[in-house]
Amino acid sequence: MATVRNFKFSAAVVAAAALLLSACGGSSDSASSAAVDPDVDITTQKLVISNWAGYYPEDLAAKVKEAIGVDITITNHANNEEIMGKLTASDDSGIDIAFVSGQYAQALASGGKLFNFDKAAIPNLANLYPEVADLAYDQGNNYSAPYAWGTTGICYRSDLVDFTPDSWNDLLNPKDSIKGKTTMLATERWLALPAMKLLGYSMNTTNADEIAKAKAQLVKTKPTLLAYDDTAYYTKLISGEAVLSESWDGWCNYGTAENPAIKFVIPKEGSDLWADTMVILSSSKNKEAAHAFINYILQADVHAWVANNILYKVPNKAATETLDPALVTSYPNMGLTPAELLKGEVVLDLGTDSKLYTDLATAVTSS
């Protein structure tokens, strides 16, 4: 009797210990890179690609199959955090290509999770604006190819506000007429952005004093907000529940598409420059097909087709030059030039200092 119990107990302990130890397995820091074999028949390879829901043309998989002969499966993630969770939970997530924001690509690369591109296999990188190669999260586009880029600003109902917003102050210290009708982004780096810019700080600051001052401003702003919202604020603008929202430029277009009175402005204090990128996981066993996929997206006509579909700007010079001028008339931010965008500060991964911003967001939202 006692033996049976002890055996069961020890078995449970051994199993528990094994699980715990497997949880501590660290990741190696070595960035993997090698030339891909140009003679491999990529049509025998299959790709699993994770992208944001609604951030790609619906018939993308069919087009890819037709053009380069590779079967692709697209899975969706709602945000960077979700895909980071999937990619970091194990050594092989089964995902070949992930779409992540630049600073997350930087974090993945520093954790040894990304494959350094064999640029000879992606000749269409030459279609990108040359400025793209200077973006600080990945200078030289060694492990990330930009898919879309843009900035953060104020999206507002020009018919429901009695002034023309042009400053982060309009959001952070709102006039009485719009109190309770404004929203801010909930993801911590963008939750902090307006206060950092209004106070004249870098959005990548790790200075404790600057973060404390931003926190004081954000705590003061909280009671004037309708909500913190990353995903549905443009529907609140359409219904009129909200009249002024901190917004990524492309999301504001989804509002403008429904109601032309919804406009976008980059506040005069400045803003950020974000880029969403395509990366190849070092665990991928289909690297040749992965390079071919990225090269296909960067093809001028394909990337222009993507831009038309998702209403975000693409950092592809050759593609942007072919965009229909009517698109820019309807959605003025689609016409922002690289020079205008580059005034924005590039969002960087802060490594272990990221927790400063998580703590800031917790302190503000629970105040």
Binding site: M1, V4, K8, A12, A15, A16, L19, L20, A23, C24, G25, G26, S27, E81, E82, M84, G85, T88, A107, L108, S110, G111, K113, G180, A186, T187, E188, K222, L225, L226, A227, Y228, D229, K236, S239, G240, E241, G351, T352, S354, K355, T358, D359, A361, T362, A363, T365, S366
Partner: protein
């Protein structure tokens, strides 16, 4: 374990009966809680995950007033949700238990039926109802009762209402199960002996339903305390609960040890509560 000895075979049989339960508890309760405990004393990896050295800093960090406030708020919100569920659930269960057999089945099915719909869809329905340009505000404005919308959505109250709606069946069903077993003659006898409706409720129905009430309270309180979706959707991100802290530390701050610390705190609160429930429940049963 069989009390007071018992033959060798019956003891082995006892283990055989218990083994599926033991395996389940080991896999899905003991190991997860132990791994949280283990993780909480490690150091955050630069890139998610955990590394050595072992340290206890996270427990000190968790006592920061910001986090203590979040924990207190969570307890209050989950408590209010359980209480509101009880206020609605007890009369409902009492009513159902007094119906004919056929109607009891129909009512129970009606209560469970909404569960077949995804809970996000049901939560979004509240967004449509409660928002400033929503159905309720528009109706009140059209009949001239109000001229400015009542702010209902994106408040702690909206979170409580939303979670009460989600978890109400978990209150009704155990109370119904307790009341349904009660001999109808007991309440009749109370009436016959001149007891008022209120007095028979207070001295007969409520005490007999008490085990169900306690279980219902735990069933509603536990998932409410850990919920992070409802605070985000109906609270507009302005109400933060422990569940949000756990999620944010794992996915946003990539600080698994700190997230594990909050998960552990959550588990500890629940263990204490369930111990109280089981203690009170035993005493109630003895008295009844």
């Amino acid at each position: 374990m069989v009390k007071n000895g018992g033959s060798k075979t019956s003891r082995h049989l006892g283990w055989a009966w218990a083994s599926p339960g033991l395996v389940f508890l080991t896999l899905f309760a003991a190991i997860p809680v132990l791994s949280m405990l283990f993780m909480s004393v490690l150091t955050a990896g630069r890139f998610g995950g955990v590394t050595t050295p072992i340290n206890f800093n996270n427990f000190a960090r968790a006592t920061d007033p910001v986090f203590v406030q979040v924990i207190i708020n969570s307890l209050l919100i989950a408590g209010a949700t359980a209480f509101l569920s009880l206020l609605i659930g007890f009369p409902t269960a009492l009513f159902i238990s007094r119906l004919s057999r056929k109607w009891q089945v129909i009512m129970i099915v009606a209560i469970i039926l909404p569960y077949w719909t995804n809970f996000l869809v049901r939560t979004y329905a509240w967004l449509v109802l409660l928002n400033n340009e929503g159905i309720i505000n528009k109706f009140l404005r059209n009949i001239g009762l109000i001229d400015k919308p009542i702010e209902m959505l994106y408040t702690p109250a909206a979170v409580i209402v939303g979670m009460t709606y989600l978890y109400l069946p978990l209150m009704i069903l155990p109370i119904y199960a307790a009341l349904e077993k009660v001999d109808k003659n007991l309440t009749e006898a109370a009436f016959d002996l001149g007891s008022s409706a209120w007095k028979s409720l207070r001295t007969v129905s409520i005490p007999l339903a008490m085990p169900g009430i306690l279980i219902g309270f735990i069933f509603v309180f536990v998932p409410s305390l850990g919920n992070f979706v409802v605070p985000e959707l109906l609270g507009g991100g302005k109400t933060v609960m422990i569940g949000n802290l756990v999620r944010d530390q794992f996915l946003k701050a990539r600080d698994w040890p700190f997230g594990a610390t909050f998960a552990l705190i959550l588990a500890l609160i629940l263990i204490v509560l369930i111990s109280i429930q089981s203690y009170v429940s035993k005493r109630v049963n003895v008295n009844a």
